[in-house]
């Protein structure tokens, strides 16, 4: 494992930060983990609450197969051990957002065991080399409800809509050593979850929250006491928590104090953390197997279906883009980072390859450049004028095909795309109607070349005498005479034939 160079400079020397993350990811499912209530976001308070979620007397949990399936698929995506025998435990504590008085979770026998997640070197971000972060486990558990404190002078209000929605708790090993690594880990995890489709990764809506465990130590020493900062809901905040906590802990230790093992809350407004008062004495959770639920046993066909339904994952896709499509590492990484990006790219690639009539590998670089720089450039230049609904893969592929055949130049491609975005319409028709085509008609070009040769006898002689770099001059003259619309390949070919004779 490569060592991070991230250090906190203290009065007594350098400190290293040790970071572990517990990410709670909301499982994508229609209904809750143990009840039939909907999981849709943003409903009126307590309208998506069943009698089960409200923990009415005599209510019982029955697990949702899809939630189990998504956890297993996620486990497979991080190369983890899938436990064919797992079970649900109760975590007992009293809080107003927890109607049952316990959370159904998995402590003793989680559904997913050890796995790994790879983050890529990013010199600029301070990650010198690729690194593998160990995953301890993934377990499935219930989400809690929501408390609102600002609606009434003496009361808090409880909304149970979230109560019982399925979460995957993805627990990393304490393998991260810098805020940058933690940020990269969360981004990569989010990308994998979204590839797999097991979580929408929407951090603003709370679909992914991280509990950030931070401790500091002198390099080479034993782990220090850690704090856990709860429910941090953006990559930037995760990094801020680590910075703040690491520095705070170094201060405490260097001033002769000790770090308390405690739960803390992050205040995004100030970028600081503080002790969480409400969970102070909740340390004895009295976990035991939930007697309402039997052991969860996965059969081979279930596991096989999970495996078969897995898509190509980010690392594999990136490698394939580089090795089979011949893309640059940068382009491969950019295109595979997000589900939407590679989705658009692969649709466009397929359409372009079909239109051009070449294998995907032969056109991939052209398509990648178009997708990553040319097309976004045009869109950006248009601003509000661009109607993205017009930007179908078919139309973009048509533009790329015309370009490939030499019918249009790069500049014309942009112009056509601009018109497509603004007005719609088919690229071929636009090119024809608006004269946005290169001339490949040899007769027309030859006529111009003849004129140029006639007007530049001296230069022709010099060229034929060995001054070969004058060839560029003739190309330029010809293009100019053709008002930039000549196909450069044709121009080259004709010039060569005439001059070399």
């Amino acid at each position: 494992m490569s060592e991070s160079t991230y250090r906190i400079q203290g009065a007594t020397g350098e400190w290293e930060v040790v970071i572990g993350l517990e990410v709670h990811a909301q499982v994508t499912s229609n209904a809750k983990l143990f009840s039939g209530a909907s999981t849709a976001f943003g409903a009126e308070p307590n309208t998506q609450v069943s009698l089960v979620d409200a923990a009415m007397p005599g209510m019982l949990p029955v697990p949702n197969r899809e939630c189990i399936r998504q956890a297993v698929r996620t486990g497979m995506a991080i190369e983890a051990q899938i436990n064919k025998w797992s079970r649900f435990d109760r975590k007992n504590y009293f809080y107003a957002d927890l109607p049952q008085g316990y959370q159904i979770s998995q402590l003793y026998h989680p559904i997913v065991g050890e796995g790994a997640l790879h983050i890529e070197a990013d010199e600029k971000a301070g990650i010198p080399q690729d690194k593998t972060i160990g995953i301890e486990r993934i377990h499935v558990e219930q989400d809690a409800g929501k408390l609102m404190h600002d609606q009434h002078p003496t009361m808090s209000y409880v909304d149970l809509n979230r109560t019982g929605i399925a979460l995957m708790e993805i627990v990393s090993k304490p393998d991260m050593r810098s805020p940058a690594e933690a940020g990269a880990y969360v981004r990569k995890l989010r990308s994998i979850l979204r590839y797999v489709g097991s979580c929408d990764g929407n951090m603003e809506e709370g679909s992914m929250r991280a509990d950030v465990n931070v401790s500091v130590r002198k390099p080479g020493e034993e782990f220090g006491t850690r704090t856990e900062t709860k429910n941090v809901n953006s990559v930037r905040f995760v990094m801020q928590v680590i910075e703040y906590e690491a520095n705070r802990q170094v201060d405490v230790l260097e001033n002769g104090g000790t770090v308390d093992q405690e739960t803390r809350l992050f205040d995004p407004g100030t970028g600081t953390t503080r002790t969480m008062r409400s969970k102070e004495d909740a340390h004895d959770y009295r976990y035991f197997p939930d007697p309402d639920l039997l052991p969860l046993e996965l059969d081979d066909s279930f596991i096989e279906e999970c495996r078969a339904s897995l898509p190509e994952l980010p690392d594999a896709k990136r490698a394939r883009y580089e090795n089979e499509l011949g893309l640059t590492p940068y382009n491969a990484r950019e295109l595979t980072a997000e589900v939407e990006t590679f989705g658009r790219f692969e649709t466009l690639l397929a359409a372009a390859a079909a239109k051009i009539g070449k294998p995907e590998a032969k056109v991939a670089t052209q398509v990648a450049n178009w997708a990553l720089s040319v097309a976004p450039g045009v869109v950006k230049s248009l601003g509000d004028e661009a109607n993205m609904a017009n930007a179908t893969a078919e139309r973009q592929a048509s533009i790329l095909a015309m370009q490939d055949k030499g019918e249009i130049s790069g500049g014309q491609a942009k112009e056509i795309y601009e018109i497509v975005l603004k007005e719609g319409g088919e690229p071929e028709a636009i090119a024809d109607e608006r004269g946005l085509k290169q001339v490949s008609d040899t007769g027309a070009i030859e006529a111009k070349i003849d004129e140029i040769i006639a007007a530049n006898e001296d230069k022709v002689a010099e060229y034929r005498g060995g001054k070969e770099k004058l060839f560029g001059f003739f190309v330029g003259q010809t293009m100019k005479a053709m008002q930039g619309k000549a196909n450069p390949a044709v121009v080259n070919q004709l010039l060569k034939a005439k001059l070399d004779n």
Partner: protein
């Protein structure tokens, strides 16, 4: 093993049952009687014995991911959910203000 008064007080607090001195005094010997009696389980050699997980051979049945499939376990019944609440306001359950 026997429990002290302080331990009983701690357990009562963990279980969120407020207990006065008198009640604690009464509870300590009662609990110790019971605990002394269950202590005999320690006599049994259970090495190699699996703790029971399912009393009748049966494995966990999973349900389909369908919203509101069974009326009794469906959402969308706020009135029912709040019907017995001691303090329901504006569609919420009310509790004394919590400081996090």
């Amino acid at each position: 093993m026997s429990v002290t008064r302080e331990e009983v007080a701690k357990i009562a607090s963990l279980a969120r049952i407020k207990m006065g001195d008198e009640e604690l005094d009464r509870m300590v010997p009662e609990l110790n009687n019971i605990l002394d009696w269950v202590e005999q389980l320690g006599e049994v050699d259970t090495s190699g014995v699996e703790p029971m997980t399912a009393v009748i051979p049966n494995s966990l049945r999973l349900r389909d991911d369908v919203v509101d499939a069974i009326p009794e376990t469906s959402g969308g019944r706020r009135e029912d959910v709040l019907a017995n609440a001691p303090a329901a306001e504006h569609g919420f359950f009310g509790v004394p203000k919590v400081i996090e």
